[in-house]
């Protein structure tokens, strides 16, 4: 086997490992929610792992990311401590946001914020990018449902006018809440808005981490060079319901882990070993859930009621 083939396989294995880690974490969260041991309105990102891992693998430390309402994968892929994220979902004082934020309102250093309002982080990302250091970039994730908000169009227009270094990344799973894209808009793909606003735009199969990375690298180079914003539409599947606990059906096809595993098997990795990795990751995530529920302190109303303001007048 040539050096470059080995190297490619190692990179793919690393990305696969990352995707597996995200998947296992959310499967453990889903399990905790089913058992009513984790509360909250959970929108999982199962099915979007290749986008999260692909995008984050292209970022520099000074780059910033704005997430949306399926944020867990983005926060984990950016290197946040899984224990702090799990503790936040479990309502613990030791959580990433001391239990005040919860699943849809995670905040951290590199992934600045998530949101419970569809489209709500897009203008914020544009403003952040407007004052970012030259050469750095801001990634703004959104779903295809957000493309029908005023916030999306106002943000695309403002970013194009100001030439701010933003990479808009659409995770298009074809569903906006409980109805299909066709019921939300007469516009086909989100990528078409790039033309309208004069923004370089690409679309990729978002279940293929290699394709995601190639597109992100190409567009981020334009963004970093000062050319203004770019738009990337990643087609993915929503492999879970809109929220955990909903009864409606969801897609079973388009699992990015399968895509990656087929490629690894073709590169000579033993399928049995891959199955064992999946199981080991899940067991580790379930152990993390148990440990967080057992050991992390519950957020208490008596702890720091002054959090409403940074400086109480």
């Amino acid at each position: 086997m040539s050096d470059s083939t080995t190297q490619r396989r190692e990179v793919l294995e690393r990305h696969h490992g990352e995707m597996l880690r995200l998947r296992a974490f959310e499967e453990a969260v889903a399990e905790g929610h089913r058992a009513k041991r984790i509360e909250g309105l959970l929108h999982l990102s199962i099915g979007a792992e290749a986008v999260a891992v692909g995008v984050m693998s292209c970022l520099a430390p000074d780059d910033r990311v704005y997430s949306a309402h399926r944020p867990h994968g983005h926060f984990l892929a950016a290197g946040n401590d899984p224990r702090a994220v799990m503790a936040e979902l479990a309502g613990r004082e030791s959580g990433l946001c001391r239990g005040r934020g919860g699943t849809m309102h995670l905040m951290s250093e590199q992934v600045v914020m998530a949101t419970g309002i569809v489209g709500g982080t897009l203008p914020v990302a544009v403003g952040h990018a407007a004052v970012a250091a030259p050469g750095s970039a801001v990634v703004a994730f959104f779903g295809d449902g957000a493309a029908q908000t005023g916030a999306f169009h106002e943000s695309m227009n403002l970013a194009a006018l100001w030439k701010t270094p933003v990479l808009f990344v659409c995770e298009n799973n074809g569903w906006a809440e409980f109805s299909s894209r066709a019921e939300h808009t007469t516009v086909g793909n989100v990528v078409r808005y790039g033309d309208l606003y004069g923004i370089p735009a690409r679309e990729v199969d978002g279940t293929d981490v290699d394709l995601v990375i190639a597109a992100v690298q190409e567009l981020l180079a334009l963004v970093r060079a000062g050319g203004g914003p770019c738009l990337l539409e990643c087609h993915i599947a929503r492999l879970r319901p809109h929220y955990e606990g909903d009864w409606r059906e969801h897609s079973a096809d388009g699992d990015p882990l399968n895509v990656t595993e087929e490629r690894l098997i073709a590169a000579g990795i033993d399928p049995v070993a891959l199955a064992a990795r999946r199981d080991a990751e899940l067991q580790q995530a379930l152990a993390l859930l148990e440990s967080v529920l057992a050991d992390e302190p519950v957020a208490n109303p008596a702890d720091d009621p002054s959090l409403v303001f940074a400086r109480t007048p």
């Binding site: 946001c97 905040m107 600045v112 914020m113 916030a151």
Partner: protein, 321 residues
Amino acid sequence: MSTGAGDNLVQAARNALNAAMVADERVIVVGEDVAEGGPFALTKGLVERHGAARVRNTPISEGAFMGAGVGMALAGARPFVDIMFNDFITAASDQLFNNAAKIHFMSGGRYSVPLTVWTLAGAGTRWGAHHSQHLDGWLAQVPGLKVLAPCTPAMASASVRAALEDPDPVVLLVDRELLYSRQGLAGDNGDPWSPRIVAGGSDLTLATSGRLVHTALAASAQSGFSVEVIDLQRLAPLAIEAIVTSVEKTNRLLIVHDEASSGSFASAVAAAVYERAFWALDAPVGRLTAPATPVPAAARLEDAYMVDAAKVTAAIRALMG
């Protein structure tokens, strides 16, 4: 840029903004036509002095540029966002209420949002229901927002300075009617965050803000009673202590406020005073506001809608029995 004791309110605010931009590179002005000076010349001359990167024109996209202000604040800048009329906050309310106001709390204290929002309010121009209302009660209701309502050039200047130095989102809710006023008051060198007594009295406490501070002073003098007039200055978070202290002395309270009566800021003040000083009251708390209707456009209708000195005098007399 000239600066002087004779400045009107908008000149004083502009000078304070310019001084802050000179002193602190992080201050950035964002809004519609700000590089053109804005409709009321608030930002006149700033782009020439500080450049287009720090005086940023925006399209008519209040949601986007309020949100951009939040993002700039999160990135370490000190944005000053001009929302031409407070009526337009409706179009930016997701960004102001769900992001700016909540981020410090939701992040567990990791982030704060040092965002200043300058916006005009108030009727009297015949401009109708979309350029004339007062959203005091709405803004004051949202935990995490600070709201200042300066009523003199000196306090407008102090408020701009204070807001830009503050780590939290601050809305400067300015009465349009006062923009070109040069009227100062004793105590103008004080703290913009605290209520201040602008006239001492023993019969009745009158709590108000903005242009109605001046109206209330004139009406009190006409009323024949000894009225203690409090300029609230800070509407949110509510500074109730100064009102309670005064009511414990006068035993009567009249709240005079420019806003629709429904769900009003005045109602929140009344409820807080009932909770804190019920046994000190000799009469029910009085509230004088506009009626619970949109602001009408026609001259006679709008005049009838607005609080004026005659209504304040009548309300004082009614409350004194």
